[in-house]
């Protein structure tokens, strides 16, 4: 019995510790992004742009390819089902709304987690293990300002932008499949897609992607700073970072989907 309480207690203390550590990380990042630059402490704009290119631009080909195929799959799946009810003409609506509200923000976030979230953890974890983080501190360079802020700005800018591209690629995938394979009329499909487009749906997806971006960045960075020991630990933390990040993204998604539908 006491072992059970001990287990629960240790779990709770661990949870509180992680919560405090992540809060500190978030506060520090916000300070270095929004306060410090106005105290003339500088912002590493060049590094942020570099990160933006790595996180966003370099991810475009794979994100576009996957979303194109996903759009096609979505159109194919829904065409069969909707046809059974005689409303096959609703495929463009379904594809457009699903892509905007849900699928493209989620898919993009998961892909960026795999590409960039993991590399945040691996990079910072390796630097931690080889004392490079200590070296930064001893030189009087703040690791948050130096390492985290460029990644944060890069992710926050890049993710909504690639999500936007992903949304249109996904709709294009549905369009290509429906018109070329199923044989729907092109102009009708375009017309229906345009009618289905709503600012509300679009903004829902964009809002989600902003929060997904913050999740990817902070989970990746936090796991990196948690790394202690050697190369094996870097690998373990990177795995854990991707799993945690995807899990957190789904949680955030559930919360926002609930909020958007209940408001």
């Amino acid at each position: 019995m006491s072992a059970l309480f001990g287990y629960i207690g240790r779990g709770a203390i661990g949870g509180v510790r992680i919560f405090l550590a992540v809060s500190l990380l978030i506060t520090a990042t916000m300070h270095w992004v929004f306060v410090a630059p106005f105290q003339r402490k500088g912002l590493r704009v060049r590094a942020a742009i570099e990160q933006f290119v790595i996180i966003g631009f370099d991810a475009l080909p794979i994100v576009m390819l996957i979303c194109l195929l996903l759009g096609a799959i979505l159109a194919m799946q829904s065409a069969y089902q909707l046809d059974r009810f005689g409303v096959g003409y609703l495929v463009p609506d379904l594809v457009a709304v699903a892509a905007m509200r849900e699928l493209s923000p989620l898919m993009t976030a998961i892909l960026v987690t795999g590409r960039s979230g993991s590399s945040f953890t691996a990079e910072i974890g390796t630097m931690k293990v080889s004392e490079e983080i200590d070296a930064l501190e001893v030189m009087g360079l703040n690791p948050i300002k130096y390492l985290v802020v460029p990644k944060f700005i890069g992710t926050m800018l890049a993710l909504p932008m690639i999500t936007l591209v992903a949304t249109f690629t996904m709709i294009l995938g549905g369009f290509l499949l429906s018109t070329l394979y199923v044989g729907q009329d092109m102009s009708v499909y375009i017309q229906r897609s345009a009618d289905a487009f709503g600012w509300q749906d679009f903004l829902n997806g964009m809002t989600k992607s902003v929060f997904f971006a913050a999740t990817i960045c902070w989970v990746g960075v936090y796991r990196g700073f948690q790394t202690e020991g050697g190369a094996g630990e870097v690998g373990r933390m990177t795995t854990s970072s991707v799993v945690t990040s995807i899990f957190m993204i789904i949680i955030v998604d559930v919360v926002f989907t609930y909020l958007f539908f209940s408001v």
Partner: protein, 272 residues
């Protein structure tokens, strides 16, 4: 004595009653010591004696549990973030594994503190990087990546980076660890040269007796988180403390005495 000695206080670092704990393990227990300006101060000790922990406290990477660390007249633990950043520009540190940034060339590594802390022109920084690398015998290696250098070269590049801001003091964590005797001796010579030419203060953590003979002005021997002996190398060697004698004579620890004690160490204490 170097130019730093013009300031009044002969001590650059004053440590008083330093206590460091990790969880309920006490690593350092009541350390009091002074590092004088312009001297090579060696912290000796066996593995696990707390010498690296002491060094990490001196540079402010760890916060002590109790006690004070005064650097150039100011308490390190009470400094604001800005003050600490300024204080750190006056110190350099050589890490055990060199801790060069793997994604940057050697030249960029050395230039980094200058780029971040000064408003110097790019061309001036280039020249300063050349001077620092020349100083450690690595001229011409600006464009190399750390992974392309040998262990000894990495250590020297790390030293060049530590020297970048012209610090008053350099901390060395196990400078000769993992180096062959010739390269290690070269590094010792370099440490002495920096002291003679620039009046640099050095704090060196090591367990290499051979290198202590060469570099040390004063030595402090740590044993189980306490100072076992402190003074010049000869003074320390004359200390009657049994651990000090054992350390300098390189005698292994005595084996567990009786057979019974050995069995107990395997099975845990026997209840009677």
């Amino acid at each position: 004595m170097g130019p730093a000695a013009t300031e009044q206080n002969p001590n650059l670092i004053e440590v008083k009653d330093l206590v460091v704990r990790f969880g309920d393990r006490t690593i350092l227990d009541g350390i009091t010591l002074n590092v004088r300006r312009g001297e090579n101060f060696v912290i000796l000790g066996g593995s696990g004696s707390g010498k690296t922990t002491l060094l990490r406290n001196l540079v402010g990477l760890l916060r002590p549990h109790a006690g004070t660390i005064i650097f150039a007249g100011r308490d390190f633990t009470e400094m604001s973030d800005d003050e600490r950043i300024r204080a750190r520009q006056r110190m350099g540190m050589c890490f055990q594994g060199s801790a060069l940034f793997g994604s940057m060339t050697v030249g960029e590594n050395v230039a980094l503190p200058l780029l971040e802390h000064t408003k110097l022109e790019k061309s001036t920084i280039d020249i300063m990087v050349k001077i620092k690398l020349e100083l450690v015998g690595l001229s011409g290696f600006e464009k190399y990546l750390p992974s392309e250098l040998s262990g000894g070269m990495k250590k020297r590049a790390g030293l060049a980076r530590a020297m970048a801001m012209d610090p008053q003091i350099i901390f060395y964590d196990e400078p000769s660890a993992g180096l062959d005797p010739i390269v290690a001796a070269g590094l010792d010579m370099l440490i002495c040269k920096l002291k003679q030419t620039f009046g640099l203060t050095s704090v060196i953590v090591t367990h290499e007796l051979a290198s202590v003979e060469v570099v040390a002005d004063r030595v402090c021997l740590l044993h189980r988180g306490k100072i076992a002996a402190m003074g010049t190398l000869d003074e320390v060697k004359r200390s009657p403390h049994p651990y000090v004698q054992q350390f300098f004579e390189r005698r292994p620890s005595e084996e567990a005495g009786s057979g019974e004690a050995y069995i107990q160490s395997l099975t845990g204490p026997v209840e009677r």
